[in-house]
Protein backbone atom coordinates (compact mmCIF):
# COMPACT_ATOMS: atom_id res chain seq x y z
CA UNK A 1 0.00 0.00 0.00
CA UNK A 2 1.17 3.50 -0.76
CA UNK A 3 2.08 5.42 2.39
CA UNK A 4 0.08 8.51 3.16
CA UNK A 5 1.97 11.80 2.64
CA UNK A 6 2.10 13.14 6.18
CA UNK A 7 4.03 16.39 5.76
CA UNK A 8 2.00 19.54 6.29
CA UNK A 9 1.73 21.06 2.79
CA UNK A 10 0.74 24.52 4.05
CA UNK A 11 3.63 26.97 4.30
CA UNK A 12 4.65 30.58 3.87
CA UNK A 13 6.22 29.82 0.45
CA UNK A 14 9.60 31.24 1.47
CA UNK A 15 11.18 28.52 -0.66
CA UNK A 16 9.23 29.57 -3.75
CA UNK A 17 10.28 33.18 -3.27
CA UNK A 18 13.97 32.22 -2.99
CA UNK A 19 13.62 29.95 -6.03
CA UNK A 20 12.13 32.80 -8.11
CA UNK A 21 14.61 35.46 -6.93
CA UNK A 22 17.47 33.08 -7.74
CA UNK A 23 16.19 32.90 -11.32
CA UNK A 24 15.41 36.62 -11.75
CA UNK A 25 18.88 37.61 -10.52
CA UNK A 26 20.41 34.93 -12.78
CA UNK A 27 18.70 36.47 -15.83
CA UNK A 28 20.01 39.96 -14.90
CA UNK A 29 23.55 38.59 -14.55
CA UNK A 30 23.36 36.59 -17.80
CA UNK A 31 22.23 39.71 -19.73
CA UNK A 32 24.98 41.78 -18.08
CA UNK A 33 27.63 39.15 -18.93
CA UNK A 34 26.76 39.30 -22.63
CA UNK A 35 26.41 43.12 -22.58
CA UNK A 36 29.77 43.55 -20.80
CA UNK A 37 31.51 41.34 -23.37
CA UNK A 38 29.88 43.35 -26.19
CA UNK A 39 30.87 46.69 -24.57
CA UNK A 40 34.51 45.62 -24.05
CA UNK A 41 34.82 44.23 -27.59
CA UNK A 42 33.09 47.19 -29.32
CA UNK A 43 34.66 50.05 -27.32
CA UNK A 44 38.03 48.33 -26.91
CA UNK A 45 39.30 50.56 -24.05
CA UNK A 46 43.00 51.49 -24.12
CA UNK A 47 44.90 52.45 -20.95
CA UNK A 48 43.64 53.81 -17.66
CA UNK A 49 41.55 56.66 -19.12
CA UNK A 50 39.67 54.34 -21.49
CA UNK A 51 39.13 51.78 -18.73
CA UNK A 52 37.77 54.41 -16.36
CA UNK A 53 35.51 55.96 -19.00
CA UNK A 54 33.97 52.50 -19.52
CA UNK A 55 32.29 52.61 -16.10
CA UNK A 56 31.14 56.25 -16.29
CA UNK A 57 27.38 56.64 -16.74
CA UNK A 58 24.98 53.88 -17.79
CA UNK A 59 27.41 50.96 -17.89
CA UNK A 60 28.62 51.77 -14.36
CA UNK A 61 25.03 51.70 -13.09
CA UNK A 62 24.40 48.42 -14.96
CA UNK A 63 27.54 47.06 -13.24
CA UNK A 64 26.09 48.09 -9.86
CA UNK A 65 22.79 46.37 -10.75
CA UNK A 66 24.79 43.26 -11.74
CA UNK A 67 26.68 43.30 -8.43
CA UNK A 68 23.45 43.79 -6.44
CA UNK A 69 21.88 40.80 -8.28
CA UNK A 70 25.06 38.79 -7.67
CA UNK A 71 25.05 39.51 -3.92
CA UNK A 72 21.37 38.51 -3.54
CA UNK A 73 22.02 35.41 -5.68
CA UNK A 74 25.05 34.56 -3.54
CA UNK A 75 22.99 34.89 -0.35
CA UNK A 76 20.41 32.34 -1.53
CA UNK A 77 23.07 30.00 -2.93
CA UNK A 78 25.36 30.05 0.10
CA UNK A 79 22.37 29.73 2.47
CA UNK A 80 21.27 26.61 0.56
CA UNK A 81 24.78 25.15 0.87
CA UNK A 82 24.84 25.86 4.62
CA UNK A 83 21.38 24.30 5.09
CA UNK A 84 22.55 21.17 3.24
CA UNK A 85 25.88 20.60 5.01
CA UNK A 86 25.85 22.41 8.37
CA UNK A 87 23.39 20.62 10.64
CA UNK A 88 23.95 22.10 14.15
CA UNK A 89 21.51 25.04 14.21
CA UNK A 90 23.75 27.38 16.25
CA UNK A 91 26.74 26.95 13.92
CA UNK A 92 24.52 27.29 10.85
CA UNK A 93 22.90 30.50 12.10
CA UNK A 94 26.29 31.92 13.10
CA UNK A 95 27.68 31.26 9.61
CA UNK A 96 24.55 32.70 7.99
CA UNK A 97 24.96 35.83 10.11
CA UNK A 98 28.59 36.22 9.00
CA UNK A 99 27.72 35.64 5.31
CA UNK A 100 24.81 38.12 5.41
CA UNK A 101 26.96 40.77 7.13
CA UNK A 102 29.78 40.30 4.60
CA UNK A 103 27.33 40.55 1.68
CA UNK A 104 25.81 43.80 3.01
CA UNK A 105 29.36 45.15 3.44
CA UNK A 106 30.14 44.15 -0.18
CA UNK A 107 27.01 45.97 -1.35
CA UNK A 108 28.06 49.21 0.37
CA UNK A 109 31.53 48.79 -1.18
CA UNK A 110 30.06 48.25 -4.67
CA UNK A 111 27.64 51.19 -4.31
CA UNK A 112 30.51 53.49 -3.24
CA UNK A 113 32.41 52.42 -6.37
CA UNK A 114 29.72 52.70 -9.01
CA UNK A 115 27.06 55.13 -7.73
CA UNK A 116 27.69 58.32 -9.69
CA UNK A 117 31.05 57.11 -11.08
CA UNK A 118 32.68 59.72 -13.31
Amino acid sequence: MVKQYTKNPVGAHYGTRGFLIQRFTAVIMAVYTIAALAVVVSRHPVGYAGYKALFAGAFGLFTLLFLAALLYHAWIGVRDILIDYVKPMGVRLGLQFIVATVLVFYFIWAAALFWGAK
Partner: protein
Protein backbone atom coordinates in the same frame (compact mmCIF):
# COMPACT_ATOMS: atom_id res chain seq x y z
CA UNK B 1 1.39 5.86 16.61
CA UNK B 2 4.59 4.35 15.26
CA UNK B 3 4.41 6.22 11.96
CA UNK B 4 4.20 9.84 13.13
CA UNK B 5 6.88 12.03 11.49
CA UNK B 6 8.61 12.67 14.83
CA UNK B 7 9.06 9.01 15.73
CA UNK B 8 10.22 8.14 12.21
CA UNK B 9 12.85 10.87 12.29
CA UNK B 10 14.18 9.48 15.56
CA UNK B 11 15.01 6.11 13.98
CA UNK B 12 18.73 5.90 13.22
CA UNK B 13 19.19 5.18 9.57
CA UNK B 14 22.41 4.01 7.95
CA UNK B 15 24.26 6.70 6.03
CA UNK B 16 26.11 6.01 2.83
CA UNK B 17 28.26 8.74 1.33
CA UNK B 18 29.76 8.09 -2.09
CA UNK B 19 32.13 11.01 -2.55
CA UNK B 20 33.59 9.76 -5.83
CA UNK B 21 32.30 11.88 -8.71
CA UNK B 22 33.32 9.28 -11.30
CA UNK B 23 30.03 7.35 -10.98
CA UNK B 24 27.83 10.39 -11.47
CA UNK B 25 25.95 10.72 -14.78
CA UNK B 26 26.59 14.01 -16.67
CA UNK B 27 23.59 15.87 -15.14
CA UNK B 28 24.90 14.96 -11.67
CA UNK B 29 28.36 16.27 -12.57
CA UNK B 30 26.84 19.52 -13.85
CA UNK B 31 24.93 19.83 -10.57
CA UNK B 32 27.86 19.27 -8.18
CA UNK B 33 30.18 21.48 -10.27
CA UNK B 34 27.45 24.14 -10.27
CA UNK B 35 27.61 24.05 -6.48
CA UNK B 36 31.44 23.95 -6.28
CA UNK B 37 31.82 26.77 -8.83
CA UNK B 38 29.16 28.80 -6.99
CA UNK B 39 31.03 28.39 -3.69
CA UNK B 40 34.29 29.44 -5.43
CA UNK B 41 32.59 32.49 -6.91
CA UNK B 42 31.39 33.53 -3.45
CA UNK B 43 34.86 32.99 -2.05
CA UNK B 44 37.47 33.96 -3.17
CA UNK B 45 36.28 35.37 -6.54
CA UNK B 46 33.73 37.93 -5.26
CA UNK B 47 35.97 39.76 -2.74
CA UNK B 48 38.89 39.64 -5.21
CA UNK B 49 36.66 41.11 -7.94
CA UNK B 50 35.53 43.99 -5.69
CA UNK B 51 39.12 44.60 -4.55
CA UNK B 52 40.25 44.57 -8.19
CA UNK B 53 37.52 47.03 -9.27
CA UNK B 54 38.14 49.30 -6.27
CA UNK B 55 41.91 49.41 -6.78
CA UNK B 56 41.96 49.78 -10.57
CA UNK B 57 39.19 52.42 -10.67
CA UNK B 58 40.58 54.18 -7.59
CA UNK B 59 43.88 55.41 -9.00
CA UNK B 60 46.14 55.08 -12.01
CA UNK B 61 48.83 53.68 -9.71
CA UNK B 62 46.47 50.89 -8.61
CA UNK B 63 45.60 50.21 -12.24
CA UNK B 64 49.33 49.89 -13.07
CA UNK B 65 49.89 47.56 -10.11
CA UNK B 66 47.25 45.13 -11.43
CA UNK B 67 48.62 45.48 -14.97
CA UNK B 68 52.04 44.36 -13.64
CA UNK B 69 50.56 41.35 -11.78
CA UNK B 70 48.55 40.42 -14.85
CA UNK B 71 51.80 39.79 -16.75
CA UNK B 72 52.64 36.95 -14.33
CA UNK B 73 51.79 33.41 -15.63
CA UNK B 74 50.54 32.18 -12.20
CA UNK B 75 48.06 35.08 -12.07
CA UNK B 76 46.84 34.09 -15.54
CA UNK B 77 46.42 30.43 -14.54
CA UNK B 78 44.40 31.44 -11.46
CA UNK B 79 42.36 33.76 -13.67
CA UNK B 80 41.61 30.90 -16.09
CA UNK B 81 40.36 28.74 -13.18
CA UNK B 82 38.09 31.61 -12.08
CA UNK B 83 36.85 31.98 -15.66
CA UNK B 84 36.00 28.26 -15.70
CA UNK B 85 34.02 28.65 -12.45
CA UNK B 86 32.09 31.61 -13.91
CA UNK B 87 31.58 29.95 -17.30
CA UNK B 88 30.42 26.61 -15.85
CA UNK B 89 28.04 28.40 -13.47
CA UNK B 90 26.76 30.52 -16.40
CA UNK B 91 26.12 27.63 -18.84
CA UNK B 92 24.71 25.33 -16.15
CA UNK B 93 22.46 28.18 -14.98
CA UNK B 94 21.11 28.69 -18.51
CA UNK B 95 20.42 24.94 -18.70
CA UNK B 96 18.49 25.07 -15.40
CA UNK B 97 16.44 28.04 -16.65
CA UNK B 98 15.52 26.04 -19.76
CA UNK B 99 14.69 22.94 -17.69
CA UNK B 100 12.48 25.12 -15.45
CA UNK B 101 10.54 26.10 -18.57
CA UNK B 102 10.26 22.37 -19.46
CA UNK B 103 12.65 22.70 -22.40
CA UNK B 104 14.64 19.50 -22.96
CA UNK B 105 13.35 17.91 -19.78
CA UNK B 106 13.22 14.28 -21.06
CA UNK B 107 16.09 11.99 -20.08
CA UNK B 108 17.97 11.89 -23.42
CA UNK B 109 18.02 15.68 -24.20
CA UNK B 110 18.75 16.50 -20.53
CA UNK B 111 21.78 14.22 -20.67
CA UNK B 112 22.92 15.77 -23.96
CA UNK B 113 22.57 19.33 -22.62
CA UNK B 114 24.50 18.32 -19.48
CA UNK B 115 27.42 17.10 -21.63
CA UNK B 116 27.18 20.34 -23.63
CA UNK B 117 27.41 22.40 -20.40
CA UNK B 118 30.48 20.47 -19.21
CA UNK B 119 32.18 20.96 -22.60
CA UNK B 120 31.17 24.64 -22.92
CA UNK B 121 32.51 25.49 -19.46
CA UNK B 122 35.95 24.06 -20.26
CA UNK B 123 35.88 25.44 -23.84
CA UNK B 124 35.11 28.96 -22.57
CA UNK B 125 38.00 28.75 -20.10
CA UNK B 126 40.36 27.57 -22.88
CA UNK B 127 39.16 30.29 -25.28
CA UNK B 128 39.61 33.07 -22.69
CA UNK B 129 42.95 31.54 -21.69
CA UNK B 130 44.13 31.67 -25.32
CA UNK B 131 43.08 35.34 -25.53
CA UNK B 132 44.86 36.48 -22.37
CA UNK B 133 48.03 34.39 -22.60
Amino acid sequence: MSSTPASRAAVRRPKYYDLSLAHLPPPGLVSIFHRISGALLFFPVLPLLLWFLGTTLGSEEGYRRFADWYAHPIVKIVLIVFVWAYAHHFWAGLRYLLLDMHVGIAKAPARKSAVAVLVLGVATAIAVGACIW
